[in-house]
Amino acid sequence: MPVSRYARPTRWVLRLWFWALLVFLYVPIVFMIAFSFDESATPGLPIQGPTLHWYDVMLHNRQLLRAVGNTVTVAAIVAILATIIGTMAAFVLVRGGLRRPNATRIAFTLPIMIPGVLIGVSLLIFFARATDLPLSLGTVIAGQLVVTVPFVVLIVASRLQGFDRSLEWAAADLGASPRQAVRHIILPLIAPAILAGALISVTLSIDEFVITWFTVGSQPTLPTYIYTKVKFGVTPEVNAVATVMLVATLLIFGIASFVLGRWRRLPGRRRAKAA
């Protein structure tokens, strides 16, 4: 076997490169957490402390807490609406209620691929000049649905596409009504995709800045509040907020992969995929 004498060094360089990338990816996150415990009001090295002062400041910042409240409300409504609307549409897309399913699928990838700033400004024009709707959390929700619904549609549709329809037909042969087939056969099998869509919607919504920035009224969400704060001065409590958000996101992420991992091992799904 002609193994080049460069093979071993190459491998070591690649290994080093991999670790360098991980360091690069985690350095800002580590700093963010470290600065949240820093005593000095202008975050920098060396880190003095540790102190929980900024967490205390954070918990007493009324505006910030209100922004968190707005974010949670918006995320909950967006996730519920996007999941329901997207799942229903995915069924029609895959089960042939449409004349041009492929064109429709591409149409649903557009809002995800088009830069958010364009969705934001076009919605701003639309709400302000064409509909006379005042900007509010309602317009924020509408704006975020534009990107989250397509995600749910595409994710659920791709799971439905690999779905073994004979399972459903077998249920019907055994006397299940269409409604029962949906409830007891289809939904449990595509549940991981629906859950994945819901979680992506929640995460996108919590973090969404660009579209929200253009559609938000007088009630800020957390990202728009933080942006105006950091734009006009140093606010170390932002690091504390960031750390809390990071832990929250990782928790959602961890629970999701755990649940999805368990689901993947269910026998029904494997059979559906093998078909």
């Binding site: 490169w17 400004v121 037909w169 077998a170």
Partner: protein
């Protein structure tokens, strides 16, 4: 289970599921309506309105009035500052894409070839986790690292490499470049790993057994097979950069602004038709790219993996 039993005979859906009737098509279409409303009413219609506004004009009160002309586009292309910022965005996009692809390819190659699948998946999970944390806050954190009093400068000064804080890294194009690579490299790694995972590396050995140099084997055996992954990674990195306005506004400084900052600034100053024209130019360019590369747009694969 029924597939094996059925063997060669065709499976016929039971009649119970085939609800025939007059409004059948409409009834099957009904669950699609809310999503269609969002896609059309909140996406296509606003974009169309933006296009119409880009062909209109503002009066002295900054109200949009329907005077049709191409002036907004002509003004854009005859203003060197605007055209330069468009050119700069393209160059920045290309540079970031290349940097992401090179970095991500090396890592994905390492993981796919030299690491067991189990550990590779774990490594990939660690690469993708930062992507799911707040984008705004990661950019903000870079400010504290790259800034004049930031950690990087303090480190370099501590090591004695520089004697006074350098402004080389932040509030300029370099800052934007670093942060954009940071933001998009996990995407590229994910996509490239997915295509390298399917590649059979013994083919490279076979090519070399037959006399090909490693470089030749790489180019003629490996590259053609992962081309779809490379193209997907390119569009998933390049297109979002055309709309980046947060990163340049936070670490790019006055000189580092990109085309999307121009759109945002026009709208902030209520110059809606001007902003709409620039916005539509970006949208049209993105649409052309998406139509050319539509085969590679498996968005759901990119997002649900890892």
């Amino acid at each position: 289970m029924s597939t094996e039993i059925a063997g060669g005979t065709a499976l016929v859906p039971p009649a119970a599921l085939d609800t025939e009737g007059g409004g059948r098509r409409l009834r099957r279409f009904a669950p699609f309506l809310p999503a269609a409303f969002i896609l059309i009413g909140l996406f296509f219609v606003p974009l169309a309105i933006m296009f119409v506004f880009s062909l209109w004009d503002t009066n002295e009160n900054l109200d949009v009035v329907p005077r049709w002309s191409l002036d907004n586009y002509i003004n854009f292309f005859s203003n060197t500052t605007y055209v330069r910022s468009l050119g700069k965005t393209m160059i920045m996009g290309a540079a970031v894409t290349v940097a992401c692809l090179v970095t991500a390819f090396a890592v994905a190659y390492f993981l796919a070839r030299y690491v067991s699948r189990r550990w590779a998946r774990l490594a990939l999970l660690f690469i993708i986790v930062p992507f799911w944390t707040s984008y705004l806050l990661r950019v903000y954190s870079w400010q504290a690292i790259l800034g004049e009093k930031g950690a990087l400068n303090q480190l370099l000064m501590g090591l004695g490499l520089i004697s006074e804080p350098s402004r080389l890294f932040v509030y300029n194009d370099m800052g934007t470049f670093i942060v954009l690579v940071y933001v998009y490299v996990p995407f590229a790694a994910l996509v490239l790993y997915a295509s390298l995972e399917r590649f059979d590396f013994t083919q490279l050995t076979a090519a070399q057994d037959l006399g090909a140099s490693p470089a030749r084997a790489f180019r003629h055996v490996l590259l053609p097979q992962i081309r779809p992954g490379l193209i997907t990674a390119c569009i998933f990195v390049f297109i979002p950069i055309l709309g980046e306005f947060l990163t340049p506004s936070m670490v790019g400084g006055a000189s580092g602004l990109l085309i999307a900052n121009l759109v945002a600034n026009f709208f902030k100053n209520a110059l809606i038709p001007e902003g709409a024209a620039v916005g539509f130019l970006i949208a049209a360019f993105v649409l052309v790219l998406l139509i050319i590369f539509r085969k590679y747009l498996r968005v759901e694969d990119v997002y649900t993996r890892g």
